[in-house]
């Protein structure tokens, strides 16, 4: 099957759809420069509804391990690659990438000059995420718009640590399994509630996870409710942005977003820079927060990467490493 990607600017790229049903849609188009950890990106709730371009040219080499899923299913609207490897080879592989996306009805568009797409996207200017009309099929199909503001549908569930020392309530805008596991591994159980539903029970603190879309489109009341409790709060990604908005800060769209495994973040606390994984398209406006609240900055563009609203109300824009999580847990 043929596939066609038309950017807002009118540029057209053609490829072959290796799976997915004929049809068309319009979606945010983003690129990610990670060379490994592809399953994690595809299943990250923050990737919901995106036409995802991967810059690494040979994709699917190590197959898919279901253990690496960050949510129940792949979240992207389409995967755009240069080449999908016909053979996967890895001892952990449960299935091929093609089979996994095919089951979810997500098209893989291969044979695309992805580098050229990225070169256009990186220079597309800063008025929100770039959009693309994606059509799959040989006929003259037109793209149907999908919601500009995708929402991740969180489910009520519990993640229980072996020997729990604390329990956090999660307002689920798109909790990554990796983050949940990192807390559980350190003795912190999670009670997960869909965003917007009131967490019932007593908790040692709150976790605002990441998620998709423009933070400005979210209702901030649940976050304000959390702050009302006076308990410790930790936030990542979208949660970090929502927490900032609830404190009266502003957010803005990045163009292009920060999506990759190689993004340097400087910490004012440790006086060191660390390389982080990121997957987001919005950032907190540095001018809208007091300087002394900023705990982390992006080494490359100086954007806000972490905020410390109170000693135990912390948020980071990136996927936090063990040290950051351990620091927060120490306040519980």
């Amino acid at each position: 099957m043929k596939a066609r990607i038309e950017l807002t600017g009118g540029q057209v790229f053609e490829g072959a759809a290796l799976c997915g049903r004929p049809g068309g849609f319009t979606a945010d188009i983003v690129f990610n420069t990670s060379m490994t950890g592809i399953t994690e990106i595809l299943t990250d709730p923050a990737s919901l509804g995106q036409a995802l371009v991967l810059t690494y040219p040979m994709i699917g080499n190590s197959g898919v391990s279901f253990e690496d899923f960050q949510s129940d299913a792949p979240q992207v609207a389409a995967l755009i690659v240069s080449e999908l490897s016909e053979l996967e080879s890895n001892f952990r592989s449960d299935d091929s990438l093609k089979a996994v996306l095919e089951r979810s009805g997500i098209p893989i568009i291969a044979g695309v000059d992805t580098r050229s797409v990225v070169r256009l996207l990186r220079g597309s200017g800063g008025h929100g995420p770039a959009r693309a009309a994606v059509t799959v099929g040989d006929g003259g199909l037109t793209a149907q718009a999908v919601p500009v503001q995708p929402r991740y549908q969180g489910k009520r569930r519990s993640v229980t640590a072996d020997k729990p020392v604390a329990t956090l309530a999660v307002l689920d805008t798109g909790l990554r399994s990796g983050l949940a596991a990192a807390f559980a591994a350190r003795g912190v159980s999670l009670e997960v509630f869909p965003y917007g539903s009131a967490p019932e029970g007593a908790f040692d603190g709150y976790l605002l996870p990441s998620g998709p879309g423009d933070p400005a489109g979210y209702d901030l009341a649940p976050v304000r409710d959390v702050l009302q409790t006076g308990k410790p709060v930790f936030a990542e990604g979208l949660g970090h942005q929502l927490l900032a908005l609830a404190h009266g800060a502003k957010t803005y769209p990045l163009s292009p977003g920060h999506r990759g495994a190689n993004i340097p973040v400087y910490s004012h606390k440790t006086n060191l820079s660390v390389i982080t994984l990121q997957n987001h398209g919005y950032a907190v406006d540095a001018d809208s927060v007091a300087k002394d609240k900023i705990s982390h900055v992006n080494v490359n563009d100086g954007s806000v990467e972490g905020l410390c609203w109170r000693e135990d109300i912390l948020s980071v824009q990136f996927q936090p490493d063990a040290e950051v999580i351990a620091e927060f847990i120490s306040y519980l």
Partner: protein, 1073 residues
């Protein structure tokens, strides 16, 4: 944390001569380091015994000492120059060991010299096998189960308990020198003894064998503040068991899933944190193919071959950043040179795949074992960049210049199926091609069983095997289907050259090119930008990709005239780093003359492939098709083919045929020097003498010609490099023997020449079409017959009378003008009986150019480049004729890597065998010789005991030399015949038993017990004594004992021992010569 302002004068230690395991990558690292230091306003003092390097240029360092790489010499340089700091982590294992020794003996402290960058404690923790193991245990990093041992018995006891095979790794060495895999106790005893010998501290690691695991490497950096990054993860296609320097390597890793990658990345960062690295570091892992189990194999706390590869693979200047870290900067303070907006504190992300293939010297060493193991055997390597692994592999294969355009090897096609099956289990340099041939013969659309079969034999990951299969599948498809534009494009995307597509489809390469152009199937050139296009980059560093948009043509034109310089490809015997020196200087000369210089090369170890050398760098194979595609885009005014060795000059004909202008000496001149008939006619017309001879095509004619000329004769194939396949035959029998092995050169003439045993001299000359400037004459110490690259060469000559010099000048001028040389020419002469004979002329740069440039101070490549562009030498300020001699003597000493090449013949002859060279400089010959011998490692021990065993013809001459050795206090040991000859001349000599006579004083045992520190052996006729001589020489090199195979070399050693100045030899700053 800004720059440490206390650092002002920095001593940089280079890596010495090119040997297997330590090659051009350290010139790249050292040069980048020196440039970074100068950028920061430092005064740079450099020591390196290797004159062929760019780092020893006066433009690169302020003070340059081309001195032996010994603690003595470095001490002298420190005493003289009083640097405040020293960097030892950029000069390979040599630099590291020297700086550590100077630190340990307290010399650095005594002279107030700081060891900057990674410190001594860290180096020891990483290099000392036991300390390293303890450190890894402390931070919970698994090592392979092992013990350290300082004697053979402990190793044997451990191995007998653990089981065989077992791996031996010596401490403080590089390239796996002295190590190996032992399959039984007998092998273990040999390898363990050799390992203990090779280690600086007499220590080995005896390690459980985990052959078959994946081998993964990480290049990592850490600054003094503790910021840490990984530059690149690399995956060896050959699993653990083959030295990483001998493995085909791909970057980034291909078969690791996110969690395994993250696990090893984190392990690397934890390790450099614990070690306290301040600079670059290489961490090698073995990863179990079916679990998360892994082991740290080793850590190199310095720049390495892998770091050079990683630098080129991702476009990150590791040496430069390591240098800045040594000066005190933090990673997040250093700008990313590629994007110029982001910082060095990030992890490069690439959107392509790099493939490295080693270049092995087995074509030079027919007797050497080709199997690959833990001791590295490659002399160099090539790298390629492509969006697909297949195209990367195909490009890399083409770049190797071994007469192959693809995975098709005619010899392997001739094997029977049974032979081929057997070859599958052999791990040698041809394994890739054997696998390809097997897949070709067993081809089936259902490939999974094929992959399983090959995986079970090789343990090469199925993903790579599948990619080999995909190449073969495309070969088959081309042969079976009509060549549609889609099929053609798909083949080009897999890296198929036109020649292969033509062969598969029964067309010609020209047909394919025409069809391609008709359908617009041409490569686009993409930029290497460290960031997978996330940020706009400024690097002029490109690779080709089919089906890709071209980024080169988007760049604005400078308006300058443009010249393309062809580089010299992989480092190999006969074509080393010298040609990179010449290529880089040509680029600089072009830029200085106002031109835009574009370079094409494929060697990741070199300075020429540093992206800030030329105006544009194309990392591409040097084949006619690959070059032509670049020329189609670049449209230069012409191409420089004379600086990149044989690799570049070989392209003169195809480029000429395409009508592309060659700058400098035209193709007719190149051809005139190579084509025997034309060359003879030119010499005759100009009244220039040469040894008589003829070009012949058949055995009968060869024998007839040889008899007419009279034996001995020099026989060689035409159009070869470094005397490959050349021999001196003393009889019909020997000539016949040689001809038996020459079928490879079918269809090309064989040259049979009279062999004149005279004094060999060599000149490099610059010709502008009207006259020549000769920078100097070099005299070879060994009589003609030893390849010029393997001879000790002396500047200025001591045995060439003035009258002969006039003849040399006239011949050089006449020959250069007759051939139409514009640029460089190298001519070799023999002086005999008052006559001068021309033996060969090469209208291109030669391996002596860097050495002669340095000692004369003449910018030879610069002048040659300008001459090639049409400038006249007198207008540039240089009169025709000889350049006045300098009051210094420079001795170039060849360096061999015989100990790394198990089984290789040590005896010197017309075929070149050396891998590198050192220089000795002094104001007198004996001292210059002494420095060269010290630099060459000939005088490491002072037992003054020599074994002499020579052929009958040499016995008389030997006696005279032996007398002088005796006067110097040497005890002489000799085998029967030689011993008798010495006795009959009234010399004292002790008898040693011949090879086959067991018992005390058996010559081989005597050598192995290191009872001697010199072996003099000349080869003999007769197969039994020939074999004995071979064994004696092999034992000598394998036990690290200098072995001289020419009496002339022995004479030179004597001359220097007898006449050297007393006391310490003065170190010479060549910028002041």
């Amino acid at each position: 944390m800004p720059k440490n302002n206390a650092i002002k004068r920095v001593l940089v230690i280079g890596s010495g001569p090119i040997v297997i395991g330590q090659a051009a990558e350290f010139d790249y690292a050292g040069t980048q380091c020196c440039r970074a230091l100068k950028e920061e306003g430092m005064e740079v003092i450099l020591i390196n015994s290797n004159p062929a390097t760019i780092m020893t240029d006066k433009e690169i360092a302020d003070r340059v000492y081309i001195e032996p790489m010994t603690v003595d010499a470095v001490r002298d340089v420190i005493r003289k120059e009083r640097p405040d700091s020293i960097i030892g982590t950029l000069g390979g294992q040599t630099g590291l060991n020297l700086s550590l020794e100077l630190h340990e003996e307290g010399f650095l402290d005594a002279y107030g010299v700081r060891l900057i960058g990674t410190g001594p404690e860290t180096i020891r923790k990483a290099e000392d096998r036991l300390l390293f193991k303890q450190t890894m245990e402390k931070i919970g990093q698994p090592c392979v189960e092992s013990i350290t041992s300082e004697d053979v018995e402990t190793a044997v006891a451990y191995a007998n308990e653990t089981g065989y095979p077992i791996v031996i790794r010596p401490a403080f060495t590089m390239g796996g020198a002295g190590g190996g895999i032992a399959n039984d106790e007998e092998e273990l005893r040999v390898i363990a003894a050799s390992g203990i010998h090779h280690s600086r501290v007499g220590q080995i690691l005896v390690e459980k064998c985990i052959a078959g695991w994946k081998e993964i490497e990480f290049e990592v950096m850490r600054d003094g503040a503790g910021n840490r990054i990984t530059i690149c993860g690399m995956e060896n296609i050959d699993p653990v068991g083959v030295h990483t320097g001998d493995s085909i390597v791909v970057a980034p890793t291909q078969t690791l899933g996110g969690p395994e990658y993250a696990m090893l990345r984190k392990a690397s960062l934890d390790i450099i944190e614990e070690l306290g690295i301040e600079g670059g570091c290489n961490v090698q892992f073995a990863l179990h193919p079916d679990s998360f189990e892994y082991a740290v194999i080793e850590v190199n706390p310095r720049l390495s071959r892998s770091s050079a590869l990683a630098s080129k693979a991702v476009g990150f200047p590791i040496a430069k950043v390591a240098t800045k870290i040594a000066l005190g900067y933090r990673l997040d303070e250093i700008k990313n040179a590629v994007t110029q907006t982001t910082y060095a504190c990030f992890e490069p992300s690439v959107d392509y795949c790099c493939v490295k293939i080693p270049k092995w010297p087995f074509d030079k060493f027919a007797t050497a074992k080709r199997t690959l193991g833990t001791q590295m055997k490659a002399t160099g390597e090539v790298m390629s960049i492509s969006p697909s692994f297949e195209a990367g592999l195909m490009k890399a294969v083409r770049s190797l210049e071994q007469g192959l355009d693809s995975l098709q090897v005619p010899e392997l096609a001739e094997l029977t199926d049974a032979e081929l099956e057997e070859r599958l289990t052999v791990i040698d340099d041809r394994r890739l091609f054997v696998l390809a041939e097997w897949l070709r013969r067993n081809h089936s659309p259902d490939y999974r069983p094929l992959l399983e079969r090959l995986f079970s034999v090789t343990k090469i990951d199925r993903w790579f095997l599948y990619r080999f299969y995909a190449i073969i599948r495309k070969e088959k498809e081309l042969a079976a289907s009509p060549l549609t534009p889609e099929l053609l494009l798909s083949a080009k995307k897999l890296g198929f050259p036109d020649s292969l597509i033509a062969r598969q489809t029964g067309k010609t390469a020209q047909d394919i090119r025409r069809t391609r152009l008709e359908h617009g199937i041409v490569p686009g050139y993409r930029m290497v930008d460290t960031c997978a296009a996330e940020f706009a980059a400024h690097t002029p560093y490109y690779y080709s990709a089919y089906g890709a948009a071209d980024e080169r043509t988007e760049r604005p034109e400078s308006g300058k005239k443009r010249v393309v310089v062809l580089g010299s490809g992989p480092i190999r015997i006969g074509q080393g780093i010298e040609f990179d020196y010449c290529s880089v200087h040509c680029v600089w000369a072009l830029q200085n003359a106002g031109y835009e210089a574009v370079i094409i090369n494929n060697n990741p170890e070199t300075v020429s492939t540093d992206f800030d050398v030329a105006d544009r760098l194309y990392f591409e194979p040097l084949t006619p098709e690959d070059v032509q595609s670049i020329l189609d885009i670049e449209k230069p005014i012409g191409v420089m083919v004379q600086f990149g060795g044989q690799t570049a000059i070989k392209l003169a004909k195809p480029l000429h045929d395409l009508g592309i202008p060659i700058i400098g000496t035209p193709f007719s001149g190149v051809d005139g020097a190579e084509d025997r008939k034309i060359f003879d006619r030119v010499l005759e017309e100009r009244g220039i003498e040469r040894p008589r001879g003829d070009a012949v095509y058949t055995r009968e004619d060869a024998l007839k010609t040889a008899r007419e000329l009279g034996y001995p004769v020099l026989a060689r194939p035409s159009y070869v490099l470094g005397g490959q396949g050349m021999t001196i035959a003393f009889s019909d029998e020997e000539l016949n023997d040689w001809l038996d092995n020459m079928e490879l050169y079918d269809g090309r003439p064989i040259l049979i020449d009279q062999y004149i045993m005279g004094l060999e001299v060599e000149v490099d000359a610059i010709c502008d079409g009207e006259g020549v400037v000769i920078p100097g004459i070099m005299e070879h110490l060994e009589r003609a017959g030893v390849h010029s690259g393997d001879s000790i060469s002396v500047y200025p000559p001591h045995r060439v009378p003035a009258a002969r010099r006039e003849v040399l000048y006239r011949y050089t001028r006449d020959l250069s003008l007759a051939l139409g040389v514009k640029g460089l020419i190298n001519i070799q002469f023999i002086l005999h009986d008052g006559k001068v004979y021309v033996i060969e002329a090469n209208p291109r740069s030669s391996r002596t150019i860097p050495y002669i440039s340095k000692i004369t101070g003449l910018p030879i490549v610069d002048l040659a480049t300008q001459a090639a562009l049409g400038f006249k030498l007198p207008d540039l300020g240089y009169e025709y004729g000889f350049v006045p001699e300098k009051p210094y003597t420079a001795v170039k000493m060849p360096i061999f890597s015989f100990e790394k090449l198990y089984g290789a013949e040590v005896s010197l002859g017309p075929e070149m065998k050396s891998t590198g060279e050192v220089l000795g400089i002094s104001d007198n010959l004996p001292d210059a010789l002494m420095k060269a011998f010290i630099g060459g490692g000939y005088l490491r021990s002072v037992k003054r005991r020599a074994i002499m065993t020579v052929n009958d013809a040499d016995k008389l001459e030997l006696c005279a030399l032996a007398r002088r050795f005796q006067t110097l206090g040497y005890d002489i040991y000799a085998t029967e015949g030689t011993c008798a000859a010495l006795h009959s001349h009234g010399l004292r000599a002790s008898l040693v038993r011949k090879v086959e006579e067991k018992g005390e004083m058996n010559i081989l045992e005597f050598i192995r017990s290191k009872g001697v520190d010199l072996v003099i052996n000349t080869s003999t006729g007769g197969s039994a004594s020939r074999r004995d001589g071979y064994l004696i020489r092999r034992y000598a090199v394998e036990n690290g004992i200098p072995c001289l195979t020419s009496l002339d070399t022995a004479e030179a050693l004597l001359h220097s021992l007898e006449h050297r100045s007393p006391g310490r030899l003065d170190v010479v700053d060549i910028t002041q010569v």
